[in-house]
């Protein structure tokens, strides 16, 4: 809360109206009727409140005073008046009931819609967005920002509208009752708003400092606690405490000032109301005593009450403005996500399952077969089908993430159908980047990549990616059963097919040992499975998808020899009869590759099979004999 508030203050200025306007349009799209209802209910509710106060004046001047003078007081007109007022009040209560309920539903619906829209939009964004944005930051848009936005819609916005109407109605009523007292009230309020503004300016300075100090201590806590075991091993507790104390005290000081100044607002506004109350009584009394024609007793009483209902909305407006600024900052961050350009796809060639007749002609099938075909439709609607073989070529490919630092230089590779191609090199040499080009997570800067002779830019992205399975080093699983995690590769796979894939991946054995076998629910963070087991599952996931081409990141160093063997066997099974790109982390596993590319700084420096490269006595030889380090 605190953090968002301060961040909000700093971030949006000037464009606040634009964001508000866009936000209102966004809400309006879905809930225009609700907004109208809420708006009019608010007016009714606040009008009822002001009319109610005016009633006090009438009560005293028009009913009580004449009645006290009457010999035979007749209470019937008063009773009628009370009943009438009861009706007005009831209307006001209904107005309040209606607008609070409507605004809650509007806010809640908006929150849900914002989340759904953000998520849906996010799925369409290119990988670059995910690689260049902090996950925590994206997640906070779904939680914090969506929440502050909802609060703003449900509470602040109606309160603000309510307060504005209250002030307007009250001011009108005050002018009717006594223009002179109105002027006095306005002067006092102008003074108090001046005080409030200077206080807010000062406190927001300290809020910024507090924000910084909070970030500082949180960072320290985060770092030290994640390394707490190291702190213990080195008996470094005292130093850890000293560093903590320094930051802790800095935070206390700023937090104390920031909150001190900002909470002072309430008693100041409240007591300014009291001062005004007294001033009105004194001045009003003076006028009523000396010029009774100008001001009646009832008018003073009503005015006193009005001055209270005048100071409250003004204090509320000052307060709500902060919340609204905060909500708008959240809205801005949400809109930023909406404005991210989505991944472009101009491909027309699609991947389909085909049946192969004896004479070699292909026909598209709805059901899955063991064969894949590329489907091309020309401008006349003629369909051509060709076999997917898995022939991949890079022709003089260059790439740069930012347009400045070139990552890949003149890469030319050819992988024939069914070949195993290994990419070797240090961290940052460009191995992963090459695979990112292949499935178009990123687009090349120049050159060409072809798949069975088709430029990959002409293939629909979804089809391209479906035709290439991936087994990555940080295997990402989802919170679901083991079965569903494997089935993620192909949603309509039968249970038998899932188990078949698990067997192929060498994962069946350990899965059956889990408490509920294939139905064991695993946690997405995977704390309940070992690194090797997670990798086996991701191999099974790729196996059930059964794509013509595979991209594999080899097993990590953190698994033991036996599990590593299992993973390797699983991967080997998966590679059979498929064009495969392997990112190698150890050389022992790639002896049998058809082609090995040794990369350095985004260039291919050596190429050939194992024996050729060893004979060459170059970089590969150094790596193989342990004279150089692999990343």
């Amino acid at each position: 809360m605190q953090r968002a508030r301060v961040a909000g203050r700093g971030k949006i200025e000037g464009s606040a109206w634009k964001i508000l306007w866009r936000l209102l349009r966004y809400i309006f799209q879905e809930s225009h009727f609700a907004l109208f209802v809420a708006f009019f209910s608010i007016i009714i509710s606040s009008a009822a409140a002001v009319i109610g106060t005016m009633f006090i004046q009438q009560l005293i001047d028009d009913y009580i005073t004449p009645l006290t003078k009457a010999a035979n007081p007749n209470f019937a007109p008063l009773l009628n008046m009370i009943i009438l007022m009861g009706a007005v009040y009831l209307l006001g209560v209904l107005g309040t009931l209606l607008y609070t309920q409507v605004m809650i539903m509007t806010g809640q619906r908006l929150q849900k819609r914002v989340r759904d829209d953000m998520f849906t939009h996010m799925q369409k964004l290119p990988l670059r967005y995910f690689d260049s944005n902090d996950y925590g930051d994206i997640m906070s848009r779904f939680t914090n920002d969506a929440d502050t936005l909802r609060q703003m819609i449900e509470q602040s916005l109606p309160m603000l509208v309510n307060s504005v109407f209250n002030v307007a109605f009250t001011l009108t009523a005050m002018i009717i009752l006594s223009p002179l007292l109105t002027v006095i009230s306005l002067v006092v309020f102008a003074l108090s708003i001046f005080v409030v503004r200077s206080l807010t300016a000062k406190s927001s300075k300290y809020f910024r400092l507090q924000q910084k100090a909070t970030g500082n201590i949180n960072g320290y806590i985060e770092e030290m606690l994640n390394g707490q075991k190291v702190v213990k091993v080195f008996s470094h507790e005292e130093q850890a405490k000293a560093g903590f104390d320094k930051r802790n005290d800095a935070l206390r000081e700023d937090a104390s000032r920031a909150n001190g100044l900002s909470t002072m607002l309430f008693p100041i506004m409240g007591n300014v109301g009291n001062i005004l109350y007294v001033l009105i009584a004194v001045v009003g009394g003076y006028i009523a005593v000396n010029h009774p024609a100008l001001l009646t007793l009832g008018a003073i009483a009503a005015f006193l009450q009005l001055s209270r209902s005048f100071s409250q909305p003004i204090a509320a407006i000052t307060m709500q403005l902060n919340v609204i600024i905060m909500g708008l900052a959240g809205a801005q961050r949400i809109f930023q996500l909406f404005d991210e350009p989505v991944e472009q796809d101009s491909g027309t060639v699609s991947l389909v399952s085909v049946a192969v007749a004896e004479d070699g002609t292909l026909t598209e099938t709805a059901n899955r077969t063991d064969h894949w075909g590329w489907k091309r439709v020309d401008e006349h609607g003629n369909v051509t089908l060709t076999r997917v073989r898995g022939h991949i070529q890079f022709k003089d490919v260059n790439f740069s993430y930012d347009g400045k630092n070139q990552i890949l230089h003149h890469i030319t590779i050819e992988a024939n159908p069914g070949e195993k191609m290994a990419l070797v090199g240090e961290t940052g040499a460009g191995k992963t980047t090459i695979t990112n080009m292949l499935n178009r997570f990123y687009d090349i800067s120049s050159g060409q990549i072809t798949y069975d002779g088709i430029d990959i830019n002409q293939i629909q992205k979804a089809s391209l990616r479906l035709s290439m399975g991936m087994v990555l080093q940080d295997t990402n699983l989802f919170t679901a059963s083991v079965r569903d995690n494997i089935r993620y590769g192909r949603l309509n796979a039968t249970d038998a097919e899932v188990e078949e894939a698990a067997k192929l991946a060498n994962a069946d054995g350990f899965i059956r040992n889990l408490p509920n076998g294939y139905d064991t629910v695993i946690d997405g963070s995977g704390s309940d499975l070992s690194q090797g087991q997670r990798q086996l599952l991701s191999i099974a996931r790729a196996a059930v998808a059964d794509p013509p081409v595979m991209i594999m990141d080899e097993a990590t160093s953190s698994i033991d020899t036996r599990t590593e063997k299992m993973v390797q066997t699983g991967m080997d099974n998966l590679m059979k009869n498929r064009t495969t790109f392997v990112i190698a982390h150890r050389l022992s596993t790639i002896h049998n590759s058809d082609d090995i590319m040794v990369l350095e700084d985004g260039k291919i420096i050596e190429e050939g099979d194992h024996d050729q490269l060893i004979a060459k006595q170059g970089k590969y030889y150094e790596l193989y004999t342990g004279k150089a380090e692999l990343g």
Binding site: D116, T120, Q228, A240, A255, N274, L477, D560, E629, G631
Partner: protein
């Protein structure tokens, strides 16, 4: 629980007590004003007594200014008190955690401890500030206002005997129905977070298998589940404002009707009616505020519980009363050792017997989960055995002063971290007084010197948080050098060279054998 938390107020007790006192003064004056106002109208304005109006006006103005000062002061002191309280609370938590054993850290998990230290403390700070201000103000306001109303006109004030309980009951019913719903909302938020987090982390998988529709469906389910219960809960809670308005308007009409009759009957005056109306407002306002305070405080109870849980958690590791302060040599002996992790029924080590002589180099191999790391972690007492005895230098490890033991039994952890700071600062974790020459010597043994020297700033190169600017192998070599600087009697490397190439790995071993002959060395390896 509350008492446990309040122990952290300490030096801010004065501020914490001044604040409610000032609030009481402010509230008292504020409730007096409508009472004096009745006098001003009835004895000043109605009879036209200007002198009375002036005198009372001055008194009331002075009162209002005092009240303003008291209110502002209360804000200032309450903020100082609560910020100080939060500071102490964070300190107490952090210091307490420093005494935690490995097992205790596992028990809570670092990320959960971080949340407790940050978000939860922040919640408590706000709740505390509210307690010393609003939680004092609203009940006082309620009591004062009712008392004043009775002193103005006891018969008319009986209306509060009806309205206050009605409001109180209505509010508590609303809270009773609403609160369980909000608890569920928090749980369902976890579900949404999970979907988004897994989607972000697995975005490459999602894109590869073209599963954005599946993911969208998951998210819609999660957000609908929140919407469903959250909107219901909020709607119930929001009934509060129309109900409150209804009661308030009802009270006003009641006062107007009966007030008019009494004024006409001569038993009451107009000014008294005006002040009664003002008290009616403040009674209902303070009730509403009270329910808000109550609601806020109960929400923060969850945070309080999470904090106290850590504060009262007793470390599983106890220091002996008369500790041995020196480790004689690097002998290690395991005698019938049994061990199981907490929350885990499986015995990880059973009946281990082992004797390693000072100066020996011993390799330990085995599959993942076979207990290699567990075994060595018992030696520096990172965990305590469940049965049997582990001794170092001929003494049970539980008899040593923990610090002495860990200084002499030094372990390079599998999941190792460097801290933000220069390389030299990181290495000096091993020995704060190490000379530059000693740093270089240790780095040379760990085969880290060459690459450190090749960096632009050498040993003054700044390591980013988590050590993200050095490679895995370099990080491992630095952590080994850091440990060597402690000059321990026993050195344990838990798969600490997995990212180092075989050639360098061999050089490290050779350097150890040549330069550290008396040090007992235990090496864990994943692969042979």
């Amino acid at each position: 629980m509350i008492r446990q938390l309040l122990q952290s107020v300490r030096e801010y007790k004065r501020d914490a007590l001044i604040s409610p006192l000032l609030v009481a003064i402010e509230t008292f004056i504020e409730t007096m004003i409508p009472f004096l106002m009745a006098g001003m109208i009835d004895k000043g304005i109605v009879p036209g007594n200007m002198g009375y109006i002036e005198r009372l006006g001055v008194v009331m103005l002075i009162g209002a200014f005092i009240s303003l000062a008291a209110g502002a002061g209360a804000s200032w002191f309450s903020s100082a008190a609560s910020a100080g309280f939060a500071k102490n609370l964070r300190q107490d938590l952090y210091y307490h955690i420093q005494n935690f054993a490995f097992e205790d850290i596992d028990h809570f998990s670092p990320s959960s401890i971080v949340t407790r230290l940050t978000t939860d403390v922040m919640n408590i700070q706000q709740a505390f500030q509210m307690s010393v201000r609003m939680a004092v103000r609203s009940p006082l306001m309620l009591i004062f206002s009712i008392a004043m109303a009775f002193s103005v006109d006891a018969e008319m004030a009986t209306v509060f005997i009806v309205t206050v309980p009605v409001m109180a009951i209505a509010l508590s019913i609303i809270i009773a129905i609403g609160r369980p719903m909000f608890k569920k909302v928090y749980q369902r938020y976890d579900g949404l977070n999970q979907v988004v987090r897994e989607n972000l982390r697995g975005i490459r998988v999602v894109k590869t298998y073209n599963r954005s529709d599946t993911e969208n469906d998951k998210e819609k389910v999660a957000s609908s589940r929140i919407f469903e219960i959250f909107s219901k809960g909020e709607r119930i809670l929001q009934l509060n404002s129309p109900i409150m308005q209804f009661v308030m308007y009802g009270t006003l009409l009641f006062l107007a009707w009966f007030g008019a009759r009494r004024i006409v009957g001569g038993t009451m005056q107009a000014g008294q009616l005006v002040s009664l109306l003002a008290y009616a407002m403040s009674v209902l306002m303070s009730l509403n505020m009270l329910s808000n305070v109550f609601n806020q405080l109960t929400i923060s109870m969850a945070s309080a519980k999470r904090i106290v849980e850590v504060l009262t958690y007793e470390s599983t590791l106890k220091s002996p009363t008369k500790p041995i302060m020196a480790v004689p040599n690097g002998d290690i002996e395991f005698n019938q050792v049994k061990f199981a992790y907490e929350d885990d029924h499986k015995e990880r080590l059973s009946d281990i017997n082992l004797h390693i002589k000072s100066g020996e180099t011993v390799g330990i191999i085995g599959e993942t989960g076979s207990g290699k790391s567990t075994l060595v972690q018992l030696i520096p007492r990172l965990y305590d055995v469940n049965g049997g005895v582990v001794s170092v230098g001929g003494n049970d490890v539980r008899q040593y002063d923990i610090r002495t033991l860990r200084d002499n039994v030094s372990m390079v952890l599998q999941q190792n971290v460097l801290f933000s700071g220069t390389i030299a600062e990181n290495l000096r974790w091993g020995n704060a007084d190490a000379t530059d020459a000693e740093l270089v010597h240790a780095a040379k043994l760990a085969q880290a010197d060459t690459f450190v020297q090749s960096l632009p700033d050498g040993y003054d190169t700044y390591i980013e948080q988590g050590g993200s600017n050095v490679s895995g192998g370099q990080k491992q070599r630095l952590t080994i050098a850091r440990t060597l600087l402690k000059n321990p009697k026993i050195l344990i490397l838990d798969d600490s060279t997995s990212a180092v190439d075989t050639h360098t790995d061999r050089l490290i071993q050779e350097a150890f054998n040549a330069e550290l002959p008396t040090m007992t060395k235990l090496l864990i390896a994943q692969r042979i």
